[in-house]
Amino acid sequence: MKHFTRLAAAAALGALMGGTALAEGLYTPNLAYRTGPFAATGIPIMNGQKDYMELLNARDGGIGGVPVDFEECETGYSTEKGVECYEKTKGRAIVTQPWSTGITLQVLPKTNVDEIPILAPGYGFSPMADGKVFKWAFNTPLSYWDGASIILEYLSQQGDLKGKKVAFLHLDHPFGKEPLPYLEMKAESQGFELLPIPVGLKEMQNQSAQWLQIRRERPDYVIMWGWGAMNAGAITEAVKTKFPMENMLGVWWAGHDADLNLVGEAGKGYKSVSWSFPNPDAPIMADLQKYLVEPGNTLSNPEEMAGVFYSRGLVISMMLAEGIHVAQAHFGKGEISPSELRWGLENLNLTEERLAELGMTGMVPPFSTSCANHTGHSGGWILEWDGAKFTKASDLIMPDSAAIAELEEAKAKEYAEANAPWPMNDDCKM
């Protein structure tokens, strides 16, 4: 009983005081989701992120000699848990990685007040690219609008889009609706017919109604903005309705090896845009083998490590580590503060040479950020499923930056007005 009281007292105290346990180093929490409905897609990414930071600790003793304290806070992809994790970690954290559009939307306005940079690689709100308005938010290296633009660019390379019919199969959720403004704008200027087909959260696994509509409308292409169970549902439905797989393209979150493994050969030709690619010959993979796999310090397995999502996790942590590295070099100290990391993320310059130095050639396109450009707009590859794995089906394709920048500026302004008084990034004179 005495023991129990002490336990309860410790718990109550801990809860009231917030996470007070102290650890040394650069505290970079990750709001992970290894449980819940999206765990299958979450685990490989989380493993990649964790392994990269642990590799840095094991191989180089951290970044700039300071160990990285990479901690996961489990959210199960639930917004409520996400906010709990954010509140728990924000006291000491130099960055927050929210990992869901819902959590991002909630944390985004708070980061301005708490002054913590928010790193949402390849997800979140596309106008975050406008660093003049979103001082603390980063969505390197590509936003959803960039992704949509690259897909349209690729399709135009296959033949003029004028008069074609493009179905946009998307999750009926802020994430799925994100590229709509861009696609609508482009449908008008390029003269194709856009057919948005929403998939409700409850219909993810049973999309027969949506695919019936696709069969009736006979679109030339299907662009898919799916996540979690929706991808597997759509791909199996497409195979069942005998939709030509080569005319189906997904966003980077819809390019998960496990989803395609379900259909195997039948999924041949399916494409997904991506800003990361697994390169088994990259020096980093050998280092991972030596420092983590052989001593048995990884939660991953060889099959997962060869996949697209694991390598994406590596790339995400690399971008964060690089931001820390740049900030350390600029401010001349090891233990950097959140606002110093913000400067670092704003001044990323990942050239081909730098990527080679990091041992990650070919795993992410080179890009750089600035105070006005918080995305980097690196460009991406179209990956194609060959029946067993994803292969690169195109050279690097760049998004239509001019059209996107215009839209970004307008939407960012709208956001700032709706959230007035919104602090702008006045130091940025670009």
Binding site: A21, V113, L201
Partner: protein
């Protein structure tokens, strides 16, 4: 000992019918109120506000609303989350259409809209009962969430389809939105919840509450002794939906800061129903106890391994958490099927007659 009632004589009917016939109850409540209003704000951290105090209060209020309908009037409802959504969206439209409006007035007004919708969906209750009525409220749940998704006007045609709480000022202090401090939000929530609880306690003790209970216990008998069933049921729907709507507005404006339609989907309805059932149907206190168990306990459990320095991964903690909370729910329901409020009532009874049990 603590609950000695000896020497507390009632000399008038009024004293006998008072809210607290036993002095110790009033003292206990006083202590809790002092804690909530004065001591907790002095010691609580940002984390405690955002993950424990504010959500527990809001969930309690939502469960209180449901309890009026299900616990007192006996009308089973599975649409609580949708009515919360009506409150939240109404509040969003009010503050964006009339930016000069006082946020607290807007929150209290938004309940009126959910009350209207609640009455509308309550009309079937005049003909159907029990599980059949539950299905009718389930229809409200599906329909309203669908409406939140499809009716662009509700979210001001925002591209993401979500509502974002703007910064709202009141007497020069931010009370909602990212600029608002947690202490201010806590006091607003506490104020509204205290007020609502006070009203609800007195409503359930009064004529209206008695007619609800009569309807719940046996509607034919109630009708025979002259209770207008239509009035009784529809007022239960209206007042319940009003409270739930206010809770929904607080949920988004004082806590979440942003909301997407599927937030108000069935899992939230079930969560609130669980709070009401585990706390105890037909009680006011139970809602608070239930919310502490279902909303507060997992948060506290999550911090235990870290506070003790145990090296358990975050995902494992989450799994353990689900198991512990789940078994606690089963445990409490086995030892007292009528909920935590009844458990407290039994303890109180024992304390009163202690040390001489019959």
């Amino acid at each position: 000992m603590l609950y000695r009632t000896a020497g507390q004589f009632k000399t008038s009917y009024q004293a006998d019918q008072a809210l607290f016939p036993i002095r110790q109850d009033a003292v206990l409540l006083g202590i809790i109120l002092i804690f909530a209003w004065a001591i907790l704000p002095l010691v609580a951290s940002e984390f405690a506000y955002q993950t424990l105090l504010i959500p527990i209060l809001i969930y309690s209020l939502a469960a209180l609303g449901l309890n009026i309908l299900t616990g007192y009037a006996g009308q089973l409802s599975l649409g609580t989350a949708a009515f919360m959504g009506v409150g939240a969206y109404a509040c969003y439209k009010l503050v964006t259409l009339f930016p000069w409006m006082n946020p607290i007035v807007a929150i209290l007004l938004s309940g009126v809209f959910s009350a209207g919708v609640g009455v509308l969906f309550g009309i079937p209750s005049l003909r159907i009962k029990g599980f059949y009525l539950a299905i009718a409220t389930l229809a409200a749940q599906f329909f309203l969430v669908w409406l939140f998704e499809k009716w662009g006007w509700l979210y001001n045609y925002n591209a993401s389809g979500a509502i974002q709480v703007p910064n709202l000022e009141m007497f020069g202090v931010y009370v909602a939105g990212p600029q608002a401090s947690s202490v201010v939000q806590y006091f607003v929530v506490l104020g509204v919840v205290t007020l609502m609880t006070l009203i609800c306690i007195n409503l359930t003790r009064g004529t209206l509450g008695r007619s609800w209970k009569a309807t719940r216990d046996m509607d034919i008998a109630a009708e025979l002794i002259g209770i207008n069933l239509m009035r009784s049921k529809l007022t239960a729907f209206a007042i319940s939906s009003y409270v739930v709507g206010v809770a929904g507005a607080l949920f988004v404006f004082m806590w979440r800061g942003a909301a997407e339609p599927n937030l108000f989907d069935i899992p939230l309805s079930f969560r609130i129903l669980f709070i009401a059932i585990i706390g105890g149907l037909g009680s006011v206190l139970g809602n608070y106890l239930g919310a502490i168990l279902i909303v507060g306990l997992p948060v506290v459990l999550n911090t235990v391994p870290e506070a003790l320095g145990l090296p358990i991964s975050s995902a494992t903690v989450e799994h353990l958490n689900v198991m512990i909370v789940g078994s606690l729910i089963v445990f409490f329901l086995i030892i007292e099927p009528h909920g935590l409020a009844r458990l407290w009532a039994l303890i109180r009874e024992k304390l009163i007659i202690w040390p001489f049990p019959h």
